[in-house]
């Protein structure tokens, strides 16, 4: 039984936005230092390093390069390559390694610097299909967005509602990269980028890093960690195939990741008070709500337009602004916001949080991981 056996003992992050002159290794080190300070533990206790590979600047042996910069020779040191899902599968693999006795205290972290460095990866040609003009990460999500509209009649205002809520929450977050609120009219007035995607459907491009300390609940009690947050459920499942090859574009194996996480936690969607749903593009939020069972297939549009997802609603989403407003960094900041919500220290605190849910995903919905935290 894994429920509650492991905790997030500390969290840390850098500033978000434009951080010129910083390598991803340097950003990771700063976030790890802050996470260790938050956990109240010494660096020498760490014997596991689980880092997501930087999306914009891949390097071989990245887990070892980072370990060297951290002054560590860990028992387990690894870089994970699953796009955005790697953050939360890193948490899961850390828990499994601790369970197996292969390490005791793990750092899980991620950094990237595409804003001051190279954004080429997001505009890349998609194989030989570049001859047709098939370029960019955004276009893959646009293809899914369009199919969702075709199958379900999803109105533009539903996508807009996701963006407006994220920007409202981000405006209240002093650390957010983009604090300018957005109206639905403003959303609708923006020129299309790759139609049907508009500018405000798309994640920010951000420099920054975030890190967590993971250990057993027993260890956290023994050493007196002040604000350890228990991990109640974890799941991952991967659609894996390129968008072109998927038999279905409007549902992914997010469904299976959530099913496993809910089963481990002994909970269901109705037990969740606040959710951090990976919002690289607004379509991702709508589909995740449907695949997770918060609403039936094709009905997320009503769910998000009823005001339920804003602070004060019955399922506030992305309460620090998400990838659309806080930082476009892929995912770990969502886990940190869920930790703050469970601790009761969030800027837009939701009252009475017992269970907080997080989704992370990567590629063009190729990978997916689910995490449930709570007391």
């Amino acid at each position: 039984m894994m429920r509650g056996k492991f905790v997030i003992a500390g969290v840390g992050h850098t500033a978000f936005g434009t951080l010129p002159g910083r390598s991803t290794v340097s950003l990771n080190v700063e976030a790890c230092r802050r996470a260790l300070e938050d956990a109240g533990i010494e660096k020498r206790a760490v014997d596991g390093v689980f880092v997501k590979t930087p999306t914009s600047a891949r390097e071989i042996l990245y887990g070892q390069t980072l370990s060297e910069a951290l002054g560590l020779q860990p028992r387990i040191g690894i870089a994970l390559d699953q796009g955005g899902a790697a953050n939360m599968s890193g948490i899961a693999f850390a828990c499994l390694a601790i369970e197996a006795g292969m390490c005791e205290v793990a750092l899980v972290c991620y950094a990237d610097n595409p804003r001051s460095g190279s954004r080429a990866t997001y505009a890349r040609p998609r194989g030989d299909d570049a001859a047709f003009g098939w370029f960019s990460t955004a276009a893959g999500y646009a293809m899914i967005h369009r199919r969702h509209v075709a199958e379900h009649g999803t109105p533009e205002a539903a996508f807009g509602a996701v963006a407006v809520a994220a920007r409202r929450h981000g405006a209240a977050n002093p650390n957010a990269q983009l604090r300018k609120p957005l109206t639905l009219d403003g959303y609708l007035a923006a020129a299309p980028l790759v139609a049907p995607l508009r500018r405000d459907d798309c994640a920010l491009i951000s420099d920054g890093a975030a890190a967590l300390v993971v250990m057993s609940a027993r260890r956290a009690r023994e050493i007196g960690v002040k604000a350890a947050v228990p991990i109640l459920g974890m799941g991952q499942a991967h659609t894996s195939w390129e968008v072109t090859q998927r038999p279905c574009l409007t549902s992914t194996r997010a469904k299976d990741a959530a099913r496993d996480a809910f089963a481990m936690a002994g909970l269901g969607p109705a037990d969740i008070q606040v959710a951090q749903i990976y919002d690289c593009f607004t379509i991702t939020v709508l589909m995740t709500l449907e695949d997770y069972g918060f609403c039936p297939p094709g009905q997320a549009e009503g769910f998000v337009r009823e005001g339920r997802i804003v602070h004060g609603g019955d399922l506030p989403l992305n309460t620090a602004g998400g990838l659309l407003s806080e930082t476009g960094m892929p995912g770990l900041q969502l886990v940190i916001e869920a930790v703050r919500q469970v601790r009761g220290t969030a800027t837009l605190q939701v009252p009475g949080v017992r269970h907080a849910l997080v989704s992370n995903q990567g590629g063009t919905m190729h990978t997916h991981a689910t995490l449930i935290l709570g007391g």
């Binding site: 003009g133 098939w134 075709a150 139609a195 072109t244």
Partner: protein, 133 residues
């Protein structure tokens, strides 16, 4: 400005040779009957080798499509706005293509037929609505 040219390899040369000869081909597995694009050495269903190339009828339907209003490559800058679509052939395989129709007229499920077009010296498989002149 040159367009990004497909890389012809021993694995996919039959595909590009087919297009040069005026036909769209897909692979099928003689062992399990699975059909697919793009080219690969092993059947992704039964994992065996020995895939054969087969000529597609050239008809299919639109699964989804997008319209670029920004160019990620200079070669496409003066083609804006242009569409990119996923088409499913009637035989099953899916491919990335362009639809030769006004963007507003494209719809999911729309029936289309193959129309080869030479672009940067290579025949590309594009699709036009069935019934279009």
């Amino acid at each position: 400005m040159t367009l990004p040219t497909p890389e012809v390899t021993p694995l996919n040369e039959a595909y590009w040779a087919g297009l040069a000869a005026g036909e769209l081909r897909f692979q099928h597995c003689p062992h399990c009957g699975h059909r697919w694009l793009p080219a690969r050495r092993e059947c992704p269903a039964c994992l065996r080798e020995g895939a054969a190339w087969e000529k597609a009828a050239g008809t299919g339907q639109v699964i989804s499509w997008v319209v670029y209003h920004t160019a990620y490559h200079d070669a496409f800058r003066d083609r804006l706005p242009y569409n990119v679509a996923i088409v499913e052939l009637d035989e099953g395989p899916r491919l990335i293509t362009n639809i030769l129709a006004p963007h507003e007229s494209i719809a999911a499920g729309m029936r289309v037929r193959l129309e080869l077009q030479s672009d940067f010296g290579v025949n590309l498989p594009r699709f036009a609505p069935v019934g279009a002149a």
